[in-house]
């Protein structure tokens, strides 16, 4: 579905993304992991058209979207859940969701959009409970679900998810990741997931890419990356073998 080839992004002289090539197949969850400043968010922003690229190509279903405007890219079926969630805090939960459907909105469509909104409430029941509350009063996890719901309101085929676990506790993270799997399995969504929480990101993914200083250094099936010692040491936080001291 998505094929990225030799993508270059610069911030001034800094090569934030250097000849990155990756692909996401329809119906898969692909995880992009790496530390702070590795270039993951920059990469997602480049794909959704928010920042300009200096070289390389991005193909979506065979079409070149490298230089397209972000609103065009949303209409083509790619939704981006940004880092930090960025819900509109003074607006109600429900209004945030409706805003997500902005690109699809037209007079005849309002019933369809309301049905989609109800479907979001089925996926995330807590949002229905809080539908009239200002989004700023929701907890971190609830805001994350709202941000995802808002992105889904554009009826995407490909979801770009930037660090959904950031700032959230382990219990709610588990729930959110469960939802991501559900989105793939039940709703046929394709997901490109960016995470510093490598363990969870690789556990639910089909394949993964490891980014370091703007370059892909490792790619492969998610299971293989989980078993890769470099990944374990650098991103899974510990050397599991030395810690699991079996007598």
């Amino acid at each position: 579905m998505l094929v990225v080839k030799n993508l270059d992004v610069y911030y001034g002289k800094i090569n934030a993304v250097c000849r990155v090539s990756l692909h996401v197949r329809a119906g898969e969850i692909v995880s992009l992991i790496g530390g702070n400043g590795a270039g993951k968010t920059t990469l997602l922003n480049a794909i959704s058209g928010l920042i300009r690229t200096a070289g390389g190509s991005i193909l979506y279903d065979g079409l070149d979207i490298t230089k397209k405007d972000p609103d065009r890219i949303v209409k083509m079926g790619i939704s981006h859940v940004p880092e930090g969630r960025l819900v509109f805090k003074p607006m109600s939960t429900e209004d945030n969701l409706l805003l997500g459907s902005f690109s699809r909105y037209s007079w005849g469509r309002s019933r369809e959009i309301n049905e989609d909104r109800e479907q979001i409430y089925t996926i995330f029941p807590i949002l229905k409970e809080r539908r009239h509350q200002p989004a700023g009063t929701l907890s971190g996890g609830e805001q994350q679900m709202l941000a995802i719901g808002r992105a889904l309101m554009a009826k995407p085929k490909l979801l770009l998810l930037d660090e959904p676990s950031m700032g959230l506790g382990p219990v709610i993270i588990k729930e959110i990741f469960r939802h991501i799997i559900e989105l793939r399995d039940r709703y046929g969504l394709t997901v490109l997931l960016v995470e510093q929480n490598a363990r969870n990101a690789l556990r639910i993914a089909d394949s993964g890419y490891v980014l370091e200083t703007g370059r892909v250094v490792l790619q492969g099936a998610a299971d293989d990356l989980l078993a890769n010692k470099d990944v374990q040491r650098a991103y899974l936080g510990r050397d599991l073998d030395t810690e699991m001291d079996v007598q």
């Binding site: 094929v3 000849r19 892909v216 078993a227």
Partner: protein, 432 residues
């Protein structure tokens, strides 16, 4: 039947994207983690960040067996030793073997690649497989074993040697597939005939042979005499071991696992990349190896690529059977032998002159190597006892160094054929 249908029938565009991604990641990784490659790239003025298309590979420097030898033992490992779960080695040119390491993931990949080849050659989990490659530092034994086990077949790790026992087990254990060198298979065929056993009474159905070049005529003979379908497979420890490529049942070229290895065929002299169909030296770049990645490794094996699609449906490109070497290495009884190894041994032994010749013939099924050594006049006309002692010493030293036994003959000085003043080192009378 495919082992990994989605991968073996991947369309070219998807395959090339995968190759590009994997090579870019490998280059970033080796530049960072392997001082040898960082130095090599810097010396060649190559910036791995500049690698943007598969065609750019021709800008990268080559890796040779000498490079591996000079990094003995762990100089080219890209991961810390504690992450290496297996170490194999192959013979070197002057007594220093080349060492290769494998992480857990590498072992998994390796097993999978061999499983692909076994499946292409007809093997399923219902097969009983007799692996008559030596189990040890050479990759042939363990490499085939892990792949066969992964397929789910019943594996008999009988290793090499003891022909009578091989045959008894083949009968009693109802072996359905034989994995060994083609010359050993021929030896077994001879022994079976000699023992008066009818090959039809055996359960053999498939033979997967490799580690040395063999002809179509030999394939026909093995298939007729052992009542099997015989396929060729290819690999080398520096790249991974067996599993690099293997024939499907069409038996018309060996499919290369291109999602793990990027191959080129180059002119052995000019090192220019040749077009598919032209014969040259096979150069292999690993795309997924973790412990010991190799960039443009010169295999010294001569072959050509067959770009036409194969009726079996596999989309991986095929290579022709290996036709020879671009260096002076010999394969005797499945073992790699460099004439310079013999030279080094003789050099250390008193009484020998620096002129020798190695004659390799095939007697029946097996290779027979005879090393003719020129000795000083004094030695040549000396007591038989002294001559025999010297011959025994040379034979033992060579056996220790090469790993195979050779015959030794002492000859008078200046009797060996000279070409431009230098003795002709190798006379290979075998017809492959």
């Amino acid at each position: 039947m495919y082992w990994e249908q989605d991968k073996e029938t991947m369309n070219r565009e998807d395959l090339e994207q995968l190759q590009l991604e994997r090579l870019q990641a490998t280059l970033s990784r080796v530049y960072r983690n392997v001082p040898f490659y960082r130095k090599k790239f810097d010396e060649a003025g190559v910036d791995p960040d500049g690698f943007r298309s598969l065609g750019d590979i021709s800008k990268l420097p080559f890796t040779t067996k000498d490079d591996l030898r000079n990094s003995y033992p762990y100089g080219m490992f890209a991961v810390p030793l504690r992450e290496v779960v297996r170490i194999h080695a192959s013979s070197g040119t002057t007594g220093t073997p080349t060492v290769v390491g494998y992480t857990k993931n590498d072992i998994k990949t390796w097993s999978n690649l061999v499983s692909r080849i076994l499946t292409a050659g007809g093997i399923t989990k219902d097969d009983v497989i007799q692996i008559a490659f030596g189990y040890g530092l050479f990759t042939g034994g363990f490499g085939h074993h892990y792949g066969a086990e992964r397929v789910g077949a019943s594996v008999i790790p009988i290793s090499s040697g003891n022909t009578a026992r091989q045959i008894k087990i083949m009968q009693d254990f109802k072996t359905t597939a034989l994995i060994c060198t083609p010359s050993y298979a021929l030896l077994l065929a001879d022994a079976i005939a000699e023992a008066g056993i009818n090959a039809n009474s055996l359960s053999l159905r498939y033979g997967l042979f490799g580690a040395e070049p063999w002809s179509e005529a030999m394939r026909t003979e093995l298939q007729d005499r052992l009542k099997i379908i015989a396929t060729d497979n290819y690999g080398l420890s520096e790249v991974i071991g067996p599993g690099v490529s293997g024939e499907c049942l069409e038996r018309h070229g060996l499919h290369i696992s291109e999602d793990h290895f990027l191959v080129e065929v180059v002119d052995p002299v000019t090192l220019e990349v040749l077009a598919p169909g032209e014969t040259g030296e096979l150069v292999i770049t690993s795309l997924t190896k973790e412990a010991c990645p190799v960039i443009r490794f010169r295999t010294r094996d001569l072959t050509s690529l067959i770009p036409a699609p194969c009726p079996c449906g596999r989309k991986f490109i095929r290579m022709s059977r290996v036709t020879g070497r671009s260096d002076d290495m010999l394969i005797i009884k499945g073992v790699n032998v460099f004439p310079s190894q013999i030279e080094a041994v003789l050099f250390a032994i008193e009484g020998t002159e620096p002129h020798y010749q190695i004659v390799v013939e095939r007697k029946g099924a097996l290779d027979v190597a005879t090393v003719l050594v020129e000795v000083s006049e004094a030695m040549f006309f000396d007591e038989m006892k002294k001559q025999n002692e010297l011959m025994a010493l040379i034979r033992k030293s060579l056996a220790d160094e090469l790993g195979i036994s050779v015959n030794v003959k002492l000859v008078e000085k200046k009797t060996l054929e000279r070409v431009e003043g230098k003795a002709k080192r190798v006379i290979d009378r075998r017809e492959i």
